[in-house]
């Protein structure tokens, strides 16, 4: 709860409106309105790739340049004994929220698409949700981990575009594999990306207490 409160307080108003509120609603609406067994591939790939791109680009508003060499951290946070914990909680909450959104959006689109048909097995639906959501989330998190090294929008934008391509490519490849193997690879890829993104940012914060010249 505290982590979510810290995350909420840390994020900008525009991010809250655009990413936390409008983006998932819009993506789910697209799924509900246009999803069908015939269109699910297009709707799913397009929605998730766009979400991954938006997530990457808008991360700059909250965590822009935090892995950059010049970034010194916030002295207010660093002067508190709870500073490190707060920072870690914010980073983890951001990561968990992102996975939650990807799973939710994917689930809504997949369920809405196949609901009319009713013939798809539960196993197929679950593997579809896991593969697509974790692949997209993983690509977004890898792109975000990279974009946090840039303190300008250009770097983020380039990585946001890259995340679109990687998301579409990986989703297509993993969906071709058998369900279980695809799921395992997608989950490993997604979780690894999250861990890398959080650790990189947290280590940078840790290093800002030291300059290694002693």
């Amino acid at each position: 709860m505290k982590a979510m409160k810290g995350y909420w307080n840390h994020t900008t108003l525009l991010f809250k409106i655009l990413i936390l509120l409008l983006m998932p609603v819009m993506a789910c609406l697209v799924g509900i309105l246009f999803g069908s067994p015939q269109t699910v591939d297009v709707v799913l790939y397009t929605s998730l790739a766009l979400v991954a791109m938006l997530e990457t680009f808008t991360d700059t508003w909250n965590f822009g340049g935090i892995c950059n060499k010049e970034f010194k951290g916030s002295e207010l946070i660093k002067s508190s004994v709870r500073g490190r914990q707060f920072y870690a909680q914010v980073l983890i909450a951001d990561c968990v929220r992102r996975y939650g959104y990807f799973v939710l959006i994917t689930a809504v689109i997949v369920v809405a698409s196949f609901m009319q048909e009713g013939s798809s097995s539960l196993g197929y639906l679950i593997s579809c949700i896991l593969i697509c959501s974790f692949t997209a989330a993983g690509s977004a998190m890898f792109a975000i981990a990279g974009s946090r090294f840039f303190d300008n929008y250009f770097g983020s934008l380039m990585l946001a575009y890259a995340s679109v391509i990687v998301t579409a490519f990986l989703m297509a490849v993993l969906m071709l594999l058998s369900g279980f193997v695809g799921c395992v690879i997608a989950v490993i890829y997604g979780v690894a990306a999250g861990v890398v993104a959080v650790l990189l940012a947290y280590k940078k914060m840790e290093r800002s207490y030291y300059d290694q010249t002693i």
Binding site: N9, H10, T12, K72, L76, S79, V81, G83, T213, I214
Partner: protein, 304 residues
Amino acid sequence: MENIKSAVSIRNFNKKYKGFSLDVAALDIPQGFSTALIGENGAGKTTLLNAMAGIRLDYKGSMEFFGQWSDKDREKEENPVRELIGYTGPGNYYLPQWTVKQVEEITDMLFEGFDRRRFERYLEQLQIITTDSKGKSKKVNDLSDGNRMKLMLSGVFARQTKMLLLDEPASPLDPLMRDVLCDMIRAYIEQGAGENTVFFSTHNIADMENVTDYAIIMEHGRVVEKGFVEDLKEKYVYVKGEAEDIPMAEKILYTITKNKYGYEGMCLADHMNQLAGLDIEVSTPTLSQISVAVMKTNSRVNLQ
């Protein structure tokens, strides 16, 4: 200092940068007083304050806070050291995207003794956001340097602390606000009844003199002078004299400024008897004059 408690005791402190070394063999910040840290740019003031606040941890040596906790204890959540210290700095204090509202929320999450009502009262009293239509949704980065400093000061003065570490608090402030800052520091010290301490660095010695009880002067990473202001004013004497006495005065004075009409400078009180027989005018120096004299003597800046 024998009978006075120390808010912070620093021993064998060393911090090395490329081509710079900050060395403090022993330094005690008296508890219950306001202490000014004075020195040239690059003397090591910010580094020392950062180390005390725990913003930098890459130093050698030890620190003891309030006679109870070491700098290792400061890093443990069960000890209230960081809660008892309020720090403001001119660097990356807030993240640039934060709004005033976020600053309030996050400070509240980070520090137990943060009083939101008091913070909001300061925001209003110091006119930080009341003149702006955006109110608390104004971004920290959009505030002027002076207002950003006022926001930082509001944040630390709204907390239950025993010591304030203020890095250059007066620099971005206008003369009126500097006076208000002095009042705030004075009130903080008085409220603490001997327990509250303020340690601030400044280049605006004249403006902050009336709130300075103790002064520490640093040069090239070393403490070159320290003491209660009243004691320093007894240690040094400000002297003015005639032009014909310059050769003699030059040998005796601590610092000297000459022109074709005469000279003026600082003399150690112990050396005043050597000026006997010269036509001189003496006065008690201000802290600013003492600081400049000490810095001049120890400075590497050479315009001659």
